[in-house]
Amino acid sequence: MLGTWLNLNKAGVIGLNRRNVAFINELNPRRRMRLVDDKTITKELAEKAGIPVPELYGVISNWYDMGSLRERLKQPGGLVIKPANGSQGNGILLISRPMASGSYQLANGRRTSFEDVQFHVNNIASGMYSLSGQPDKAMLEYRVRFDTVFDAISFKGVPDIRIIVVRGIPVAAMLRLPTAQSDGKANLHKGGVGVGLDLRSGETLTGMQNGAVVDIHPDTGNSLAGITVPHWDQMLTMAARAYDVTGLGYLGADIVLDKERGPLLLELNARPGLAIQVALRSGLGHILDAAMDADSQDKDAAQRVEMGQALAA
């Protein structure tokens, strides 16, 4: 056991304690956390700064807004309903299209009634998925038509890319893939697959699922390695700019790749998890320390991306 402990320390593997004390408490001022906890604020800030985001169709936070729900659901291309203050992908409902019968087709192929959607929106608004249980609002936004580049290694749903940014420098990235087990969500807690990405090339490396290392996608059976993420430098720049917008020194930027619109910033996370270490099969400690010491303050986003790629080399 002591051997494991020493090995992990040598490999620079960090735990939740170190993440909380040395990075979140150190780099993320509490009053700024609000900017990313509420996704409507994040979206607004990102739009102002010119970072592309999925279009917002509407926000429902009270009984009055609820009256317009049926109207707002009339998006022929479907839409996503999610809590503005949600965490870890909880409470997200993916509607792929409204049906003639008045019910809705979900992304996982099931059908749901308007009442069920209304109940879900109600639950969101009453704070069921919010971080502190406070009343929340439901966001209705553009449903991403994901690029076909990941078709061979994803099962329904939307794959997304998580980039960890420390003091504005992108330091690590992973591709998150939905599986049958995760119900179409790219959520590692629910059995999604995480694939480490080469920070310089955007090429997929190795994967993990349910905390264990994997090399093939469990549903499609295809090898996870060797796929290059398109628009890679643009994604890194978007993640780096998220730091300028929020001022959070330790954040995870979640980016999706739309078929037509290219990379879109989905949300920011002020408490990104540590499973990325298993996906990359290496500890984050060393590169995080290097980013803490790096002089990033007067550099613009593109320069910081280069710094991160140099650190990762």
């Binding site: 004390v21 009442e115 009453s126 905390g211 270490q277 099969r281």
Partner: protein, 521 residues
Amino acid sequence: MNSSAHTRILALLCLTIGLGIFVYKTSSFQTPLTAEVQETVWDIELFIDFMARDEPVRVEAFIPGTAGGRQIAQEQFYNGAFGHRVVEGAALTEDGEVAPQNRLNRKSIWTYRYPNDRKILRYQGRITAQDGETPIAPFGKKAQANLLARIADDVKRQAFLVWSSDLQRQSADADSFAALVVEQIFSEQPSDEVLTLLKDLPPSTARLVLARNVLISQKIPARIANGVVLTGPMRQAQVQHWLEYAPDGVGLRYFPGEALDRFFAIWFGEKPLIQADGAYELSAQISLSPVVVSGEIAAAMSGLATAPLVSWLRFDRLPLTTQLVYGVLVTIPVGITLLVFLRQFIGVQTLGTFMPVLIGIAFRETALWNGIFLFSLLVGLGLAARFYLERLKLLLVPRLAVILIFVVICMAAISLAAAGSGQNIGLSISLFPMVIMTMTIERMSIVWEEYSAWDAIKQGMGSLIVAALSYLVMSNNQVEYLMFHFPELLFVLMGLCLLMGKYTGLRLSELIRFRALAKRS
């Protein structure tokens, strides 16, 4: 100064203060670090609380008597503005004459002409426990009284005569007469005569009064003793009644129900503990606490009482009821510190932050296995209800309310079911914190749905394990003794928690989580 250095300095300060006082107390005054709780010496407190309404108030309360060589140490009265005197023995008269049992009694009498508002009166003393071996205080010579004359009801008088002469015929001497009396009065199905005679007597002491009367009518000295059972620290002790009699000049005790191991007689006779005029909403409470007395600690404590710096840092200066509260309160930080360790170093996942410790506190009342059983049962039932409610698609807050009400219904049902089967878990379940149970159920069901059943059970088990461990630590006698007598250790716990707040290493659970990464390097 960066935050790490700041934390370390603060932690060091806490540890220095705490350990400094601790070492000072143990070395300079030889305060022992362990003490066996002796169960022979107890602190007793009588706490009287009432409303006064601008009319003269007179409160009389029996306090432990000193007749028969009994020693009551460290007596204290809290009288407020009341006039106060203590009357004992022959000076206690009832209807102008000295009742025989009053020879042994002592009364505290508080009076005030125009009191107003809520008033509190308090008596505290240190007593020596009695047990089966303790000799019975001698009976007075004036044991017999003309009881027949006092029975006003003809039917009753007749029943008394018939029954007592029957008993007399069936017995050979005073000894066998007394045995018969006790047997017949306290039998499961008493005879019709006994039932007639028991009528109109206060139910709690009826049989004792009758037994005493019959014995006295046959010139056998007898009296009713009222006191408390000494089983452990208690904030609201029940008054117990028993019979003391001496058929052949040898004192005997008869306890209705089970015989008591360790007890203390506060007063004798059938009068209530407290008689009051002009006092409204009167409530009286007897608190008991075993005293940790060894020669060593007594000496140390008297040394500490005069020491300049640490003399105020002692809980035994507080009233007994407050002492009993602090006895429990100061152990909670130990449980909390344990919880911090389990979360930060081991990585045990729990539902809610301090919830497990609160459950652990509830275990104090239920004992460990009962507590774990009840907790699992309630959470299990609540989860079942929660999954059913999911189908009804209710709003969050009303749904929580429904679950809370359901939890209360389950608690009541368990109590009622247990009452029928003679189990005493029924009472203790009501002390389970129901709001915490409700939140546990809600969180667990969300984890169940959002993650998996396995995650939910894992976190539930984690909570239960932390609750059980914190209970074991908090109820440990040594921990209780140390925390109560050395409250400065609270600073040490605070220092430890400060240090743990800056621990950045891996948790034990993370060694398993990241084990794949250890193999590669």
